[in-house]
Amino acid sequence: MSALTAPRTAPPRRPHLLGRAVVNLVVGLSVLYTLLPVMWLVLAATKNRDALFRSDLLSLSDFSFAQNLRDVVAMDGGLFSRWYANSLLYAVLGAAIGALVSIACGYAFDKYHFRHKEKLFGLVLAAVMVPQTVLALPLYLMASGVGLVNTFWAVFIPVLFNPFGVYLGRIFSQGYVPDEVLEAARVDGAGELTTYVRVSLRMLGPGLVTVFLFQLTTIWNNFFLPMVMLSDQDLYPVSLGLYAWNSAARVSPEYYPVVITGSLLAVVPLILAFTLLQRFWRSGLTAGAVK
């Protein structure tokens, strides 16, 4: 922010040399602020417990990443792999289904006319605002009413709901699918749903990936709902499992290295997803922002 005090007399097209240096310094420090904690996690995951508590992370003498990995997998009878598989299932399957459902609904809002359309859409926007914590207790009571508490479905069904995805779906549909395409398909005698699946959905691709990716992040991050719904450790997602292990670490410190290594492993899928799908979500984001 201090860069904003750059001299006003600077030639407009070529900012002052000092200004340039300050701007780069501020950005550089900010990048360090965001990167260093992650770096710490990476380094700490390669250390055994003694080195961790001596906090000399840069010495290479106590390198025990492989051992830490073995410990994470072996701890509590292989619970971590179980949690990891659960998280993948909740997140990948949930985000895939959720994104398809939201995009379809957003598309219908954009392309079709029906009564009370804007009122129904207002309901979607209202749902964006409602805090998760408000829904948790009623959802718990409903789930216990139908006997779903402490099952896979208690966590899986609520995370499918993504009202912001509908809002985005409508915007993407406006931006990516010209109405003329639909009219042409109708003239050719194609059914509405066939057109959606064969033509429109393909055009909505980047939007679909964007919604998928962001829902994936939310579900992977999900902590409150599993905490409320699940008591069986075998059903935990990684987030809740690491929370449980961290509580255990206060009593038995051998959990510390496992929690740290486990945290590092839990970060990997999202970073992979964001990197691999970069091309899609970047274009998706810009399309949303221009509107």
């Binding site: 904690p37 710490w40 459902v101 979607v124 829904l135 509405e192 690491l242 221009v290």
Partner: protein
């Protein structure tokens, strides 16, 4: 629960604007072309009506899955929360009789609103918002403007680095920072110790800033990307015009670019507010190591404590409804206030 939030970027929410007028005309044109092939005199309207029916059926098919979810995991739960807040368990016969659920009116609300621990949690979250939201919005906007100024080296690498924490789940971010706040493990505290400064990140006065720091770290880069995308959409001619008018880079950034992305600023502020009010993950994790955070530190923690530790559903539901009303009122206030500010600005022109 101010975890990295999945809310991609988009402009202001089109609440009531009808963006669908033009297609109507195209449809009529195409409709008449199609109807031209029909031989019977009534064919034209019949075809149209059946086309319309087909469209409605398609719309219904596409929307049903979402609305089934909306009813089951949103409308019914909100209704249940409101219903629960007006009812309570009553045990006749000195508590030995069978439990009955009776209407208690506003009794739960009165209990919540006179509970000092609930009011304390509200105070905490308000203070948290007051510190966190300006820092977040100004910080992210400043970074976006700096990156947009074109003098930053390795710009896309810088963006990627700033964005990275968004891929770190909220609970893991809290874990990392918890360890960086823990004496004996933290290299930060060790560094300070070498300079003879003792610092307790989880003390009475530092615990809230410590939580703000975690949230800021998690979401700064994400919001920066939103602002950056909006800045990229600003037409270059506008920037060039201001440069020709003799405005320096700083004035261009603050007086030309910033007003042009005001809708993104409002959106970021609103979502930051909504998620800040739900504050849960970070304090719950830090409470494992800090006596400064009790079980009713924030309203969400209060709700959790009331519902699942004390099993007082009426109390939890009333607190939930209050949090809901507060959230809706504040976000409505933000949009109204900015709308008015915008129209006042237009009027001044």
């Amino acid at each position: 629960m101010s975890q990295p939030v999945s809310r991609p970027l988009a402009g202001p929410l089109p609440v009531s604007e009808d963006t669908t007028t033009p297609p109507e005309t195209t449809r009529r044109v195409f409709g008449s072309i199609r109807a031209g092939g029909a031989s019977s005199p009534g064919g034209r309207t019949a075809t149209r009506a059946s086309a319309r029916r087909r469209e409605l059926a398609a719309a219904a098919t596409l929307m049903t899955p979402f609305y089934v979810l909306l009813v089951t995991v949103f409308l019914i739960p909100v209704g249940t929360a409101v219903w629960l807040s007006f009812f309570g368990d009553d045990q006749p016969g000195l508590g030995f009789g069978p439990e009955r659920t009776v209407f208690v009116g506003l009794r739960s609300y009165a209990a919540v609103l006179t509970d000092p621990t609930f009011l304390g949690s509200l105070g905490t979250v308000v203070l948290y918002c007051v510190v966190y939201i300006p820092l977040m919005v100004i910080g992210a906007l400043a970074l976006a403007l700096l990156l947009d100024s074109g003098v930053v080296r390795l710009r896309s690498w810088a963006q990627l680095g700033l964005f990275l924490p968004h891929a770190v789940p909220g609970i893991i971010a809290a874990l990392i920072w918890l360890y960086l706040y823990t004496p004996g493990i933290s290299p930060v505290i060790e560094l300070f110790a070498k300079a003879d400064i003792t610092i307790d990140f989880l003390g009475v006065h530092t615990v809230l800033p410590s939580i703000v720091n975690i949230a800021l770290w998690s979401n700064l880069g994400y919001n920066m990307v939103i602002f950056y995308a909006a800045l990229q959409a600003v037409p270059r001619e506008v920037i060039e015009a201001s440069v020709v008018d003799g405005a320096g880079p700083v004035r261009t950034a603050l007086q030309v670019k910033t007003p042009l992305v005001s809708s993104s600023i409002v959106m970021v502020a609103m979502f930051t507010l909504i998620f800040a009010l739900q504050l849960f993950t970070e304090p719950v994790l830090l409470s494992q190591s800090s006596p400064m955070i009790n079980a009713r530190f924030s309203p969400s923690m209060y709700i959790y404590d009331a519902a699942f530790t004390r099993n007082n559903y009426g109390l939890a539901a009333a607190a939930s409804v209050i949090l809901l009303i507060l959230t809706v009122a504040l976000s409505y206030g933000v949009t109204r206030w900015t709308n008015r500010a915008n129209s006042a600005e237009e009027a001044a022109r």
